[in-house]
């Protein structure tokens, strides 16, 4: 029998949906962890006119959705959302609360954890349940050079923020059924001490490298800015995204939005093809979740070659051309 107090809650961070898919990824992981805690998979949604997100979360695995739908919550408000989560958690005592490590989530989770006098781990790149039923929170530090496994043994809920791209969402199932628990907004929510004066969407950066299943990464070994264009061609051909190392971005061969390995850009593609990258730790720390890595480098001893599933010892530029040619021939029309 399922008991309420072992539930796994996932905060519904729907801003920038469809691009932002971290909530769906966390629901998928919650679904894998729930049998070990013996609880239900729950999504928590605050906002106004959020019915479509509620339906989306149910279609992606939420068994229960707690909803506070009110015009006052139309905009993301950290103060109101913190107060609401505090009350909701105190009323239902879930075992675990997961929050996507978006900018909002990383500001929100510390406040929620503090109010609830519980622990919090940041930017997790894995979650599991140990034999005592506690959540192992795997959190990177020192730019990914060290990984810590963290427990919150004595406080509830166990709270973690999790990087986008760490887990894979389950497919949309329109027939999935979930219970929707609607709650009214409390009368005594405190006055907003932080007020949004103006908000505008920043220019679009295109498809997000964190969420794509094919990433083509290039390093200085590609040779020149001109030759680096082949990386873009291959990425386009494979319907993937371009990734680049810091030296390449500094040299202006590729834009800053393609940088992989700094500022928490963790990628988790199904396939990563890496050309001419030796494998500085700042870069490789972001690649741990790639399903399958093909690395191309003249130097068979490069770190990137050692961590690859397939290491192709060849000139990066020539191999890139040959792979483009092969794919063009092999795509069945």
């Amino acid at each position: 029998m399922k008991t309420l107090n072992h539930d796994i809650w996932v905060f519904g961070d729907y801003r920038n949906y469809f691009q932002n898919r971290v909530t769906l990824q966390l629901l998928a992981r919650a679904g894998e962890l729930a049998p070990k805690t013996g609880g239900s998979i729950c999504a928590i949604v605050f906002g106004y006119d959020v019915g479509e997100y509620v339906a989306e979360y149910i279609a992606h695995g939420a068994e229960k959705v707690y909803v506070v739908d009110h015009p006052q919550l139309k905009q993301y408000s950290i103060e109101a959302y913190t107060g609401l989560m505090e009350r909701l958690v105190e009323a239902h005592r879930p075992e675990i609360l997961l929050i996507g490590a978006t900018c909002f989530g990383k500001e929100y989770a510390p406040k929620v954890a503090k109010r609830l006098k519980t622990g919090l781990s940041a930017d997790c790149i894995d979650l599991d349940i140990n034999k005592d039923g506690l959540m192992i929170q795997t959190s990177p530090s020192f730019g990914g050079n060290l990984i810590a496994e963290i427990l919150t043994p004595n406080n509830k809920p166990q709270v973690a923020t999790v990087r986008a791209g760490t887990f894979q969402e389950i497919p949309h199932n329109a027939d999935a059924k979930g219970e929707i628990i609607s709650m009214s907004i409390p009368d005594d929510l405190p006055m907003e001490r932080v007020r949004l004066i103006r908000s505008e969407r920043l220019p679009k950066k295109g498809h997000k490298i964190e969420d794509t299943s094919v990433v083509i990464c290039g390093g200085r070994g590609m040779g020149s800015k001109q030759k680096f264009k082949k990386i873009f061609e291959l990425a386009h051909l494979m319907d993937g995204e371009v990734g680049a190392t810091r030296p390449v971005v500094h040299a202006g061969w590729s834009g800053p939005n393609t940088l992989v390995g700094q500022a928490g850009r963790q990628i988790s593609p199904k396939i990563l093809i890496s050309f001419g990258i030796s494998g500085a730790i700042q870069h490789t720390a972001a690649l741990g979740d790639a399903d399958f890595i093909i690395a191309v480098n003249k130097n068979p001893n490069a770190t990137m070659m050692k961590m690859a599933d397939v290491a192709v010892v060849a000139d990066a530029n020539q191999a890139c051309l040959a792979i483009i040619k092969a794919i063009k021939e092999k795509i069945q029309i």
Binding site: E107, G119, L120, S121, N145, E149, E200, S213, A308
Partner: protein
Amino acid sequence: MLNLVVCIKQVPIVSELPWDSKTGTLRRELAEGMMNPSCKHALEAALQLADQHNGKITVFSMGPLMAEEVLYEAVAMGADRGVLLTDKRMAGADTHITSLILARAIKKKCPDFDLVLCGDQTSDSETAQVGPQLAEELGIPGVANAEKLDLATHALCLERQTDDFLEILEMDLPGLVTISPHYYVPRHVSLGGVQQAFDYPNVDTLGADDLGLDPGLVALKHSPTKIIRVYSPSTEKENIVLKGAVKRIVNELFTRFGDRIGGAMSKDLKTHDHP
């Protein structure tokens, strides 16, 4: 007069990190330290506000004794005084306990503060949690990742980028901001300047008892989170090596792994070449 508080942290410079394998925490007393880069940006923001509004700045840091170095550096940059929070019982504090101790110290030494500034994250543990948790602990509003600050009467106007949005916010004072490194550029301080700061000491040191912390408090034990294991990311894989002529190895690549490559692209690839 504007009463500003800046919280800074000393972080290790070295790439060789001395870890205590028993507790899973960094043995900070063995590492070479520097002021966390993002904290420097926060201090610069405070210095500019202080210049514009006749402010005074108190800088707090929690850590081992050697962390006083970054407080002297802060004084050399222009802060009015520093407060070091150091005590064996504070060692191993997670963000929950750290923010609790910082809040105690701020209430004791600067009860009439207007604004607390922190870096947006540290280069060592990278949680970005202490700032928001300190705001909670102090019972004041907080905004993370602020870029440009403008002070009005009883409110702070600030700009920030968050999740693909540019936001202009207004926050009541007293309040707390964490500063993103994009707007304020820290001023340079010569070694001589730091030396001078050491010659005219205005750095106080407080321990757990001075702060009236629970005498039974042992930060490592009372932190809600426990580090159970620390390791370097492993790179264990089957690691198949292909070498030879480029054309041949690319052919082999697709013969052996074409399904995998096609699968990721959601396309069927012809994996076998025609004769």
